[in-house]
């Protein structure tokens, strides 16, 4: 499904990605772990087209997406969240999620101005978005400005936006970091529900308990290299991995 071949990226002399080879299945939950600076977020940035690799390619199925613009990659069904949350603060929660809906006729100038069929499409999208907002537990905040939510709620909002795109591949950058425990459980349950819907979820996470709970596969990165790959039970038991991580 999503494949990386020999991805290499360096900035200012620092090697962020070194010859990364990756082949991800078409569904499931994969966790990428590693110390800070290992290159995990850079990997996401390269896959989603925000950064160009110095060398190597990314494939979605048979299609080479390496040099595609980010919005085109998103339209092919790859959605992501960011470590420093990105969303519109001055806009309501529901409008944030509405923005994420794909293929909106109203986003074409002709239809936006003539309004033909737009109201109907908006109504359909609104109900889909409300379902998602309810799914994520934010229905009583739907009309509030997104900037007014708590950190954990904002994380859920970005998650909802990510799902709303309808993408089959979700790249989540630290979905539970900095969130309080009850909310973490809620988010993890949610991710398991998504897996059942046949989506591929790739998580970057530091919280190893969370990883053990939901991940089918764990990939360990360090200094731009993948140093281990396998089921969490096996990988996380290896002492050298834990050392590289914690020590």
């Amino acid at each position: 499904m999503l494949r990386c071949e020999r991805l290499t990226k360096s900035f200012d002399g620092v090697q962020a990605l070194a010859d990364i080879q990756l082949a991800l299945p078409s569904s499931g939950i994969i966790a990428i772990i590693g110390p800070n600076g290992a290159g995990k977020t850079t990997l996401f940035n390269v896959i989603t087209g925000i950064l160009r690799p110095n060398f190597g390619k990314t494939f979605l199925g048979d299609k080479d997406i390496t040099s595609l613009q980010p919005h085109l990659i998103a339209r092919l069904g790859v959605a992501r969240t960011f470590q420093d949350l990105r969303f519109m603060r001055q806009v309501s929660v529901s409008d944030n999620v509405m923005l994420a809906r794909p293929n909106q006729r109203g986003e074409n100038f002709f239809y936006a101005l003539t309004r033909i069929g737009v109201a109907k499409e908006e109504a359909v999208n609104r109900s889909v978005c409300m379902d998602l907002i309810r799914f994520v537990g934010l229905e009583d905040k739907a009309d509030r400005l997104a900037g007014e939510l708590s950190y954990g709620q904002q994380k859920l909002l970005t998650l909802a936006c990510c799902i709303a795109t309808g993408a089959r591949i979700l790249l989540l950058d630290e979905p539970v970091a900095g969130v309080y425990p009850e909310m973490i459980e809620h988010i993890l349950d949610f991710l398991l529900k998504l897996k059942v819907q046949d989506k591929l979820i790739v998580l970057v996470e530091h919280d190893l308990t969370a990883v053990r709970r939901v991940a089918d596969q764990v990939i360990v990165m360090d200094e731009g290299h993948i140093i281990a790959e396998g089921p969490p039970v096996e990988v996380l038991a290896r002492p050298e991995i834990m050392e590289a991580y914690v020590g």
């Binding site: 977020t41 940035n45 925000i50 950064l51 960011f82």
Partner: protein, 291 residues
């Protein structure tokens, strides 16, 4: 052709000073200080007032002009920009306020001095003498020498003094510099004072050669921006090279097009570079918004 070269070098001397000042401000304060053009114009008119109107010696007029420029530039920083920075203003708001300051200062100048041309020169414009196949006046030679000396002096200041070292630390990385304890504010103020003084110097040098016009502030700003973008903002060789390229393009085009197209040509060069190579010849790759 020799005349084109000679004229280019004379014009470039002035542009280089303007561009360097502008670049110093940009590399520390991180935005385009449009009011730089108005500061430039004010310096010339202050010098004019002091020496031609009030009859003081030219040297005094020149000093007053440069001091006035430094003062005006510093005032922009102290009164407006610093206050805004404290409140977390974005580079766009700072840029817009600079536009506003430009309007105020430029029109203040017109208000006080009227719209006619003024001359700083009190001696008649000579024919100049022949040098390597072109005509050049003594004043023009003086301009080139003075500008070169100033460029060298600034380079020495930046690269051979403690003040300069701290200054370059700030302009290379503001986050890093504050972590080390350098006073970012002080370096920014220095940039404004020094950069504006250089603009003042440029204004006076050019006014010794040609008449001052009320529009000179806009032209000065344009040349500062054009030379900075073409050469690469914030580097001394960049300022010099950018200035030479712009001046040369202008002088060369004067062969084929009527002279009033010279300024649009400069803007055209600026435009081309902005599209093709916004970091200029010597500038570093500008990092896009980091993720």
């Amino acid at each position: 052709m020799e005349q084109v070269l000679v004229n280019s070098i004379v014009a470039a001397s002035v542009y280089a000073l303007l561009s360097l000042g502008f670049g110093l401000i940009f590399s520390t304060a991180r935005f385009f200080h449009f009011a730089h053009g108005a500061v430039y114009a004010w310096a010339a008119y202050v010098a004019f007032t002091v020496s031609a109107l009030w009859g003081w010696p030219l040297a005094i007029g020149i000093i007053c002009g440069i001091v006035a420029a430094a003062a005006l530039g510093s005032a922009c920083e102290l009164v407006v920009y610093r206050t805004m920075r404290r409140r977390g203003a974005s580079t766009l708001t700072l840029l817009l306020s600079g536009l506003g300051l430009y309007m105020v200062m430029q029109n203040g100048l017109s208000l006080v001095f009227g719209d006619g041309n003024k001359a700083l020169r009190t001696w008649p414009a000579g024919e100049g003498f022949a040098l390597a196949g072109a005509r050049v006046t003594g004043v023009q030679i003086a301009i080139v020498i003075a500008a070169s000396l100033l460029l060298i002096a600034v380079w020495l200041l930046l690269h051979r003094t403690g003040v300069g070292l701290r200054f370059r630390a700030v302009s290379n990385d503001q986050d890093l510099a504050s972590a080390v304890g350098t006073h970012v504010d002080r370096s920014i103020l220095l940039a404004f004072a020094l950069g504006s003084a250089l603009a003042g110097g440029a204004a006076i040098l050019i006014s010794l050669d040609v008449d001052m016009t009320p529009n000179m502030g806009f032209i000065g700003l344009m040349m500062a921006v054009a030379a900075s973008i073409v050469g690469g903002i914030g580097s001394i060789p960049g300022a010099a090279l950018g200035a030479l390229i712009v001046a040369f393009a202008q002088q060369l085009s004067a062969w084929w097009l009527p002279s009033q197209w010279q300024d649009p040509i400069a803007f055209g060069i600026l435009f081309v570079f902005l599209i093709i190579r916004p970091q200029g010849v010597f500038g570093q790759r500008i990092k896009k918004a980091s993720i």
